[in-house]
Amino acid sequence: MADTIETSLLVIVFDINPTQRILINEPHKEGQKFTHCVDAVTAFANSHLMLKPRNKLAVITSDAETSQFIYPGSDEGESLLSARQRDGQYELFTHVERTIRGNLQSVIMSSKPPDPTKETLLAGAFAMALCYINRQEIEKPVGEKLNSRILAITGSSDSASQYMNYMNVFFTAQKQNVIIDICSLDHDLGLLQQGCDISGGLYLRIPQFQGLLQYLLWVFLPEPPIRKKLLLPPPVKVDYRASCFCHRQLIDIGYVCSVCLSIFCRFSPICTTCHAVFKTPGPLPTKPKKKKQKLGLEIVSRPEGKDELQRLEILDINWEGHSPAISDPVKMYHRQNMSLAIAFVAIILCFHMMENIVNGQVTFSRDWTPGKRAGYMADNECSIKPVSSLCQMLLNEIRVFASCEARSISNYIQQKTSDQNRR
């Protein structure tokens, strides 16, 4: 009772669109390609059921018009009982084969004549498969673990028209821990590759159609926990770049509408999808104004002491002798309709700095000693001297290093020239 019973459910999505190039029979060659494909799928389905007696199976066919379950059939229980052993074959296999063939036949007979402009609606089939898996999750007995995966076998190409449905399906699969495997018979499928990458499945474009069953058995039959131990085709590099809505080009940097999330490759004032009107990008309107005012103010008040007001505010350093001049800027602020609050803050700041006039002094004398007006700095003195010596040391080090480098380079060049001469 300790270990949980694990069941694996495989849903095969089988693309039967008659316009697939790979399935169309070539007249001068022997063999029916579609029949070959159906045989391979049936054999694969049976071998999945053969791995463990608890394994479950579902098969969905998909074409341009509709998607349908062909296994399990509409009357599950009864037909299994009626399946009698034939040629010593396991009853379940007979049943699977008979159901798949019978239902496939009825699907094909009832389908409309093919329209080559329409593509297979695989996303819908995936959605059905996920609903089926969800039902099995709900119905499973307590204590059982269901590993579900979806395998799509398709020979059609993919286009962006189903993009949203595909993405919904892929993310749902990721959330439900369902793995999506893709076996492509013909084309490279960029969108479905993304699905494999998101859900953690395998993507394989088979190189040889004749060996379909072998590829299926070797690559897609092992359950996901076993796959780690096998040497399988390496994960493909998936291109997740977005294509813009305006030109359908792949872009690296784009603009996204904040309302409807449409992607554009360049700035446009109106969103073409939701008709929202955007503000034109640019510097904020308040910023340059402020700068201008300040510049004007400084020129009027003190042409020699630029930036000092800002520095006073930011660095909290007092500059002796300039405090009377600050009353001028205050007036300027008033005149230029600046808010009273800033002036008030400036005055407070000024008084505050008058108090600690000496403590905050910074001098730039040559030998790093404090200036004449500085307070007693006994504790700092010892720490300042080593700084200068450290600088000296560092400079020496750099000098030595540089000369060493130069010497080694010249050595190297000499060696090289002598080598060449020897030759």
Binding site: S62, A64, E65, T66, S67, F69, P72, S74, K118, L121, A123, G124, A127, M128, L130, C131, Y132, N134, R135, I138, S161, Q162, M164, N165, M167, N168, V169, F170, F171, T172, K175, Q176, Q194, I198, K237, V238, Y240, R241, A242, S243, D252, I253, G254, Y255, V256, C257, S258, V259, C260, L261, I263, F264, F267, S268, C271, A276, V277, F278, K279, P281
Partner: protein
Amino acid sequence: MSDAAAAAAAEEEDGKEYRWETGYEKTWEAIREDEDGMLEGAVAEMVQRAKRRRLAALSASAGHVRLGMMRHVCLVVDCSDAMLDQDLKPTRHICATKLLEGFIDEFFDQNPIGQLGVVVTRNKRAEQASVLGGNAQKHVAAVRAHLARPEYCSGEPSLQNALQLALASLRTLPPHASREVVVLLASLTTCDPGDITATIQSLKESGVRVSVIGVAAEVRVCTQLCRETGGSYSVALDDRHLRDLLKEHVLPPPALTSRAAADEAALVKMGFPHSTGAQQAHLSICLCHLDSSGGGEVTGGANGGSGAADGGDCKLRAGGYFCPQCRSNYCQLPAECRVCGLTLISAPHLARSYHHLFPVRAFTQLPAAERHHSSACFACRKSLVTSAAADKFVYECEKCHQVFCLDCDLFIHDTLHTCPGCTVDQRTFQQLSS
């Protein structure tokens, strides 16, 4: 005076009278016996109705409402000693931690381009547990580090401090972002340094939408707070209800109408880095884990150690996602480039958010007894004819007229966001895509 009168009037308009003011409810009368004298059917029906309640509410609000898609949510979590009460099992803080973890995961699943921040309040103070960002693990860790420890939860909360801290982080955002605060409040009291109505006003002016989920009981100041800022206020009855209430905040809310709509829309510049394989890329350190190793080095230096990085997270590696503007490396998306400030996302993340904009229309409920529809659920092949009393109804999509069972109905609307019937039919599919 007029303010008070207006507030009183607004309260009247709410039309919500308290439970104790209503007439006596005879809850048992809702359950009726069927012809055979069985109760099963009635009970099953009630369960079913409860399941679909959220969907019904969803379809009622459907319509072309502009949603705040770029969500920036500040989650305020009360870590006061009121969190240690045992009315939610086992205790409030353990229950809340579990539910918040679920909420954070769900939030990023549904809003991959959204951002979340966590503020905790306790001992009359508020502190930022994690800054606004898109990394779910970081927020879950922050919630776990603060809320999960019973010894951490102490003192009184301060709603005003928490709101101000949240506002400080939300105020600087660009105008197109939707700003929200979700408060999980367990305490019935708050210890504030000043006038909270002024804070509410400033929140309102900055266009922040505040929603409160109470765990204890309804508090008037919260009612006012939510009404003023356009949020929702609800009090959880039990853990399930609390989970449902949190879940309501997973979906993006309609954009606030108070701000001019024209101001809000903006084209946001975003980068779509393509992951480079390990073969051709050069080695680099990813910038998203730079700070964790930096912290390790600082502490190592303080201990007098060699300052070795705490390993694990920060490694030189090839591959990753490179910012298309400045080529800095990130190991996961979505992220905001630390160097040039570009928002980096991948196209599927945007696509993940589209379903909020194009939701699946609610299905119509039909009695199962009517035999004009097919005998099995279209999506999962569950038989609709021979099922138990629980499935008295089936659900039909208005577009493709396919019939679904209850479970599929819920699954399609909650998780899948795609109607299988519409997507497999070429006719309806072309309507969808056009």
